[in-house]
């Protein structure tokens, strides 16, 4: 099997309060079939064998759906492949001898926990402010009692596909969370079930988003470009309509 040599520059930071720095490593036994995270596993095995502390990075399902993996790879969240989360990025997209810089997602509301691990609980707090439909278990009417046009259901699904990874924030030159927040507001605004709480939801979620300290959206659309689920900035436009309607009407 073909082996590649890679030069890695990885952000190392002991904990939230200790300053970090980029540290260089060289790996000689990378194969093109490996996933990016498996490449880091290999690095960690070498580090552990040498008695050094491994690089911490968040990951879980490794099939692109849990949203736990992050990493900014050569300046792009989730790396160079379009519509692909870091865990599904494979080393065949890199060349022998490449230098790869790996940094954590950067935003004030995403403080670094250790090395490449960041705390994204700000997203939970935004959703808790209104990213739901208030329905207690047991009180729902029959599922087919509300017909929803297929096109509407499909568009709601496009927004609902968000995996909450935070790449949109990491990629945004302003560190705005608009794409994430808009995906939920848009999904629930499209569906008839979401109507009763529509205004309250938009107002409260945006208020919480601002309170968390995310930046403002300047419409760079870099978020859409890095989104593993290709969520469109059309949802940001809808979020803005929802907010202004809630304010003005």
């Amino acid at each position: 099997m073909k082996k590649m040599t890679l030069h890695l520059r990885i952000w190392r930071q002991k904990d939230a309060n200790t300053p970090g720095k980029l540290v260089s490593y060289t790996l000689n036994d990378v194969t093109p079939e490996m996933s990016f995270l498996e490449m880091l596993d290999v690095l960690n095995e070498h580090l552990v064998a040498k008695g050094e502390e491994p690089v911490e990075f968040d990951n879980d399902c490794r099939e692109g759906i849990c949203g736990m993996c992050s990493l900014v790879i050569n300046g792009i969240p989730h790396g160079p492949e379009h519509a692909t989360a870091t865990c599904q990025l494979h080393m065949r997209h890199f060349k022998d001898g490449d230098t790869i810089t790996i940094e954590p997602f950067r935003a004030k509301p995403f403080p670094v926990v250790k090395d490449l691990v960041v705390d994204r609980s700000a997203f939970d707090r935004i959703l808790a402010a209104g990213g739901y439909i208030s329905v207690n278990a047991g009180s729902a009417p029959d599922a087919n009692s509300i017909p929803i046009p297929k096109e509407v259901a499909d568009e709601a699904m496009d927004a609902a596909a968000c995996i909450g990874c935070g790449a949109c924030v990491a990629a945004c030159p302003n560190a705005s969370a608009s794409l994430f927040v808009s995906a939920k507001i848009s999904q629930l605004a499209l569906l008839p079930q979401g109507q009763p709480e529509r205004k309250r939801r938009a107002l409260r979620m945006i208020e919480q988003m601002d309170r968390e300290g995310f930046g403002d959206c300047s419409n760079h659309a870099e978020c859409e470009a890095v989104c593993p689920k290709e969520i469109s900035i059309a949802h940001i436009a809808r979020m803005r309509r929802e907010y202004m309607k809630a304010m003005l009407c």
């Binding site: 879980d60 278990a137 596909a161």
Partner: protein, 637 residues
């Protein structure tokens, strides 16, 4: 230990309603005086946490990830079954019940499964009301697809992301309760012990994975929804953090572990590509609707698949099972793939794969139809393997996917420790020896939304719960135990990484306690696991310390538990002298290689009781009685 399943009396279809009528209630004003701990935030944990808070209880919700939304339920692709009969194709609660009992190879309780089928209907209503964007027809009504093991179309789905959408629905309900102040979230916390006081589960010990602090949490009841133990095999379709530690520590505190050997191996996964492989990725079972499975007739044929002529290919599923062909159930398809690979006819670099070929389907239906049906799966395959499945046959191989076994629970989902309830994949209850596709989501949500809210109230109302604080001796003893184990792990400073131990355990499990098992292999496995466990405690190396985020330390604790659980799985597999569902014993098969069940001697749930380190666990049997469905042999010929 006595197993009392508390099955209600009366006719099957009235059991749950009668039981509900008999359950004691907690006054609304009193509910807020009670705290319930829910560990895990997957479908079962999130739905339970949300629903208990809706009722008025104080809920403390724990998860190991950075957010409750990451739980591995999120990765379920295909769909969720419900006996809605929206398609008018003859579905009913009875039929869903029957399919599930039969699919489980007659190793589950009739009453539980019937209740599951009844509740399936309400789950869909609840999910739709939460805004789950299920697939719809142009008329605006819900769409269904068909799935393995059923002759009706009863599976509801949201593209290939049904688990994600259902989990986000439950998670949003949970967050609503966080906003209302009834749920407190504790993320990045790992449960390391259960605290039992006066014979009742009264709290847990968790480690804060960021700061390393050990915390004590007290409650009136503990709900465990921590998923399955497929990662005992190292390579599985489970998430990397999925583990059995919480369940295993409850087992060591006195909760019986039922049917540990029942594991499901899914036939259509992307095969492993190298030693460094960290996990396996599932490809939806629906691919077998149009793909044809084959291997070369010749051993060690290294030609490119497209250069192997038609008459030198063995379409072995179509050959062995002419009636069902490529659509045989999961366990049958998996074993058949293993058989041809064992003969040396496997393909791919390691000879551990078979072809799933769409060339015929593309010729018959056109590439556009295939793209429309499976486009996203083909893209995923290409992303991972770098091969284009429109031109080259896919390579697939079975992988561990789900564990039917789990902590033993009664009809109320309570374990053998009073006050400890176990939901979802973590319990053993509804799937018998084999789970049907699209049924895991159904069970997790039924347990969380519609069973536990009733049964936990009965427990709280009917139990004298002493005032307990975290200063109690039992908390101290549990915390000390946890700390000692962590210190011990860190002090070994051996030569081998946690990952390497896990990999080795996985190999033993896969080779001897995997798709097909035999007494000799199982005995060998038990010996090997014991040896490995001993080596682990002498030679494991964990870098760093415990006062910080340290994944190697987290994994060390989990692998230590897997090293014990693996042995129990082998012991259970060795004692079950029959083949049923996911458990195939080579000694018990028909002359043409089909599973041979032994209803006379093994129609029971095997519940194992922990008797102390180094001691043999004790087997307790809960007989299974079939009043409504008479066990028959599954045949797919």
């Amino acid at each position: 230990m006595k197993l009392d399943s508390k099955l209600p009396s009366g006719p099957l279809h009235e059991k749950w309603d009668r039981h509900k009528a008999d359950l004691k209630l907690v006054n609304p004003a009193n509910k807020r005086k009670h705290t319930i701990i829910v560990v895990g935030t997957g479908l079962a944990g999130a739905s339970a946490g949300a629903t208990l808070a809706e009722l008025g209880y104080n809920v403390k919700s724990f998860c190991i990830q950075d957010s409750p939304r990451r739980a591995h339920s999120i990765a379920a692709q295909g769909g969720i079954n419900a006996a809605k009969n929206y398609q008018n194709d003859g579905d009913s609660i009875w039929r869903l019940f029957y399919d599930t009992i039969k699919g489980g190879d007659y190793r589950s309780r009739e009453a539980n499964v019937y209740r599951l089928a009844q509740l399936s209907v309400q789950i869909i209503d609840q999910a739709v009301a939460q805004g789950v964007p299920f697939a719809r027809e142009y008329g605006g009504l819900l769409a269904n697809r068909s799935f393995g093991g059923a002759q009706v179309s009863r599976t509801f789905y949201a593209r290939g992301q049904t688990g994600q959408q259902l989990l986000l629905g439950a998670y949003s309900s949970l967050l609503r309760q966080v906003d209302l102040g009834r749920v407190t979230l504790f993320s990045r916390r790992e449960m390391l012990d259960l605290v039992v006081i006066n014979g009742k589960a009264r709290g847990i010990i968790v480690r804060n994975l960021v700061t390393g602090e050990i915390e004590r949490h007290v409650a009136d009841a503990v709900v465990l929804a921590t998923g399955g133990y497929g990662n005992v095999y190292f390579l599985s379709t489970n998430a990397k953090n999925s583990n059995a530690t919480a369940a295993w520590r409850c087992y060591k505190r006195g909760a019986a572990f039922a049917n540990p050997c029942f594991t499901q191996i899914h036939p259509t996964c992307i095969p492993r590509a190298g030693h460094y492989q960290s996990k396996l990725t599932l490809m939806s079972e629906s691919l077998r609707n149009d793909g044809r499975v084959w291997v070369p007739k010749k051993k060690g044929d290294k030609r490119h698949p497209n250069e192997i002529p038609e008459d030198e290919r063995d379409y072995y599923l179509e050959r062995r099972y002419p009636a069902f062909g490529n659509l045989v159930p999961r366990d049958v398809a998996s074993r058949a793939a293993k058989a041809v690979c064992d003969e040396g006819r496997g393909v791919g670099e390691f000879g551990q794969a078979v072809y799933l070929d769409f060339a015929d389907a593309i010729r018959r239906l056109g590439i556009d139809v295939i793209r429309d049906r499976y486009g996203n799966l083909f893209d995923m395959y290409e992303r991972i393997t770098g091969e284009n499945p429109y031109e080259v046959p896919m390579r697939i191989y079975p992988a561990v996917h789900y564990t039917m076994g789990g902590l033993w629970v009664d009809y109320n989902l309570m374990s053998t420790i009073p006050g400890l309830f176990v939901l979802g994949e973590a319990n053993f209850s509804d799937h018998g020896a084999n789970r049907l596709g699209a049924s895991a989501l159904m069970q997790g949500l039924a347990d969380g939304y519609f069973v536990i809210p009733y049964t936990i109230g009965d427990y709280i109302a009917g139990t004298e719960l002493e005032v307990v604080s975290t200063d109690a001796d039992a908390f101290k003893e549990a915390e000390d135990g946890v700390k000692q184990q962590i210190d011990k792990l860190l002090s070994i400073k051996g030569k081998k990484s946690v990952l390497e131990f896990h990999r080795q355990l996985g190999e033993i499990m896969w080779d001897y306690v995997g798709m097909s098992r035999n007494a000799e292999g199982l005995k060998h496995a038990i010996k090997e696991i014991r040896k490995l466990r001993e080596e682990f405690w002498q030679n494991v190396y964990i870098p760093g310390d415990s006062r910080n985020l340290n994944k190697d330390l987290e994994f060390a604790g989990r692998v230590a538990d897997f090293l014990e659980l693996g042995e129990l799985m082998a012991i259970d597999a060795l004692h079950r002298n029959e083949s049923c569902g996911g458990h195939f014993r080579e000694e018990y098969q028909t002359p043409d290689g089909e599973a041979l069940r032994d209803d006379k001697n093994f129609a029971y749930v095997a519940a194992w009781e922990y008797k102390g380190d180094g001691k043999e666990p004790e087997l307790h049997k809960e007989p299974l009685e079939f009043e409504y469905v008479k066990p028959t042999t599954r045949s797919y010929k």
